[in-house]
Symmetry: C3
Subunit: 254 residues, 3 copies
């Protein structure tokens, strides 16, 4: 995932370009810092996109196993707090966030989309939050935002059964607002971002404030609860066992 800010003079400046393809607490902290900088600079909006063919693969099970095996109590707190702060940074970001998804968006990479403002996807994108299979509970406020957007039945099918959504399905159900052809995806996105950036910065920020402010306390509460629950699961012996057995099943699948 790349973070760009779109500045006053309608040029794109690359702000951060580390990969969110495999978010770790370290990467998440860097993204928070980048969002902090983008909030303070004179850009009008933020563009999240990815380099390569993957948007975000979610938390790496092998990373989780590695960390939790060393010091379960301490590491579960550390990772849960990193997730919490990462999600909070999106909840509190005041400028519009445009997301351009050109490949698979899994786990946190899919969960945070409803915390962003405009979401465009390439035909090649797809979306999955296989949390239950990974012995995880929902994160990124998806326990609240997914039912709101997708309806409770589809949201739960994604969260409980790991249902994959194609770009077109995600669009027809409201997670994404428009789908573009892969070969012209970047042009289509930049065309629209430029037009959006021609709007007045105050109007963009105040419009976002009107749309979001009423939900912020709810999202903060949901995020807190979700991360508490993750910490509890990671702390438990069963949580670790489930991650091991998931890794094992993935290995034997291959």
């Amino acid at each position: 995932m790349k973070i760009w800010t779109y500045d006053k003079c309608v040029s794109v400046s690359e702000l951060v370009s580390y990969e969110l393809k495999r978010p770790s607490p370290l990467i998440m902290k860097e993204v928070c810092r980048a969002l902090g900088n983008a909030a303070a600079d004179d850009s009008k909006l933020l563009l999240l996109s990815s380099v390569g063919t993957v948007f975000c693969s979610g938390l790496e099970p092998s990373y989780l196993i590695g960390r939790l095996s060393t010091d379960r109590r301490k590491e579960s707190s550390r990772i849960a707090e990193a997730v919490r702060d990462f999600v909070l940074a999106f909840i509190h970001f005041k400028k519009p966030i445009v997301v351009a998804i050109n490949g698979p968006a899994l786990g946190l990479g899919a969960s945070i989309l409803p915390l962003c403002d405009v979401v465009w996807a390439s035909e090649r994108a797809w979306f999955q939050t296989p949390c239950a299979a990974l012995h995880l509970t929902p994160s990124g406020c998806s326990s609240y935002t997914f039912p709101q957007i997708l309806g409770v039945a589809l949201a739960n099918e994604m969260l409980f059964c790991g249902r994959k959504l194609t770009a077109q399905e995600a669009c027809s159900r409201g997670l994404v607002s428009q789908v573009f052809w892969p070969t012209t995806f970047n042009q289509e996105v930049m065309l629209r971002v430029k037009e959006m950036a021609s709007c007045n910065a105050v109007v963009l920020e105040e419009s976002k404030c009107l749309v979001r402010s009423i939900l912020i306390p709810v999202l903060e509460e949901v995020n807190e609860k979700e991360c508490q629950m993750l910490k509890q699961l990671w702390c438990s012996t069963k949580g670790l066992e489930a991650l091991f057995s998931y890794m094992h099943s993935k290995t034997t699948e291959k």
Copy 2:
């Protein structure tokens, strides 16, 4: 409607098999008791499905007329309380509820779907809540959940105008999460239920808790208000007259 629980060892055990095709206060009470048992046993999730070609036909107008004609005040309280407790049992059920709908789901049978967690339908299913035509106001929390899921315009068209939704329409609007071919419907459902039942029970229950807990006080309040209003209508002379004239129009239609 049948209620199954899906137990630890991934086998299906039939729990109750009376018909919810024509729910009466008696049947509704039995379902509450069955849900209570399912909550206490060691199953991971609940599967609601139906035998035959009808999922649920809603409250029977002739039953209502029969009861209300004898003692309007007492019977309107009794039936409204049965509906309230029936709906509350769904609101408070902590394990995931999977619904498999293979035929028409009317009235309460359609209204309670958003209180369940995953909803799959056969191509043969359809959905209708013709409450206004029956001189009834919405029930099953549909006055709250239908606008949330379907948008206010379609929700009201269903509640005020008795608009029928096909399985595909219900799916594209979010009431249902997936539609399957009638001949393979049961296999498709059981395949997915088995996979879901392979997840950890704590993860399933806590995920549901995250998705639902924030809404429970709202749903309780809505259910209370809806049942108060139903009681008031059933208590009134006009309410009874409307039921009679509906029955009459149905008879003359044939």
Copy 3:
């Protein structure tokens, strides 16, 4: 836009017939008065439709420029208050409102649709709220209702980028509940309105009350905030400049 009431004896009586195609504070006040009358008469529901090919074009930029150029402070208050009261009249209207849209619905004409109860559109209708381009923030409670109905991504694309929705898109996303062929549009609407008007008035009003009452305090708050923000923008020098430059770009486009 025409306002009709649909009375007890299932005949249509024209109540108001001035054009809401270009709503001004004066027109908005007249609509409020008309809604007040319709609330008090013995009609069961209200039908909003339009004569000609346009449903509503939203606030006229040239009107805004004209008024704001004379006395920015006073006029910005006056217009913002007119919008606030106009929107409040829809929020508080107790009988079901049916809207029949046979052409473009822009700005306020699109924003207020979620405050109405059943929304039918002709294939010729389309929907747009190009507020950011006009240096305006959302109005008509669209900052709350659009994300609820369309999902946050599409809502923001409409509010920030001026995305146009066709009738079919608006229907598949929930803003509209059904689309009809232009040549038979009026018949289809009247057929359904007549059927709806055959329902009991108390049942219709109480059903609407159940669906709406829980949202009224939220909508009142959102409307207040939206109008405060509009007043602030209109009061500012930049706001006026943006309107001028929009007018200019429209003129040079032609």
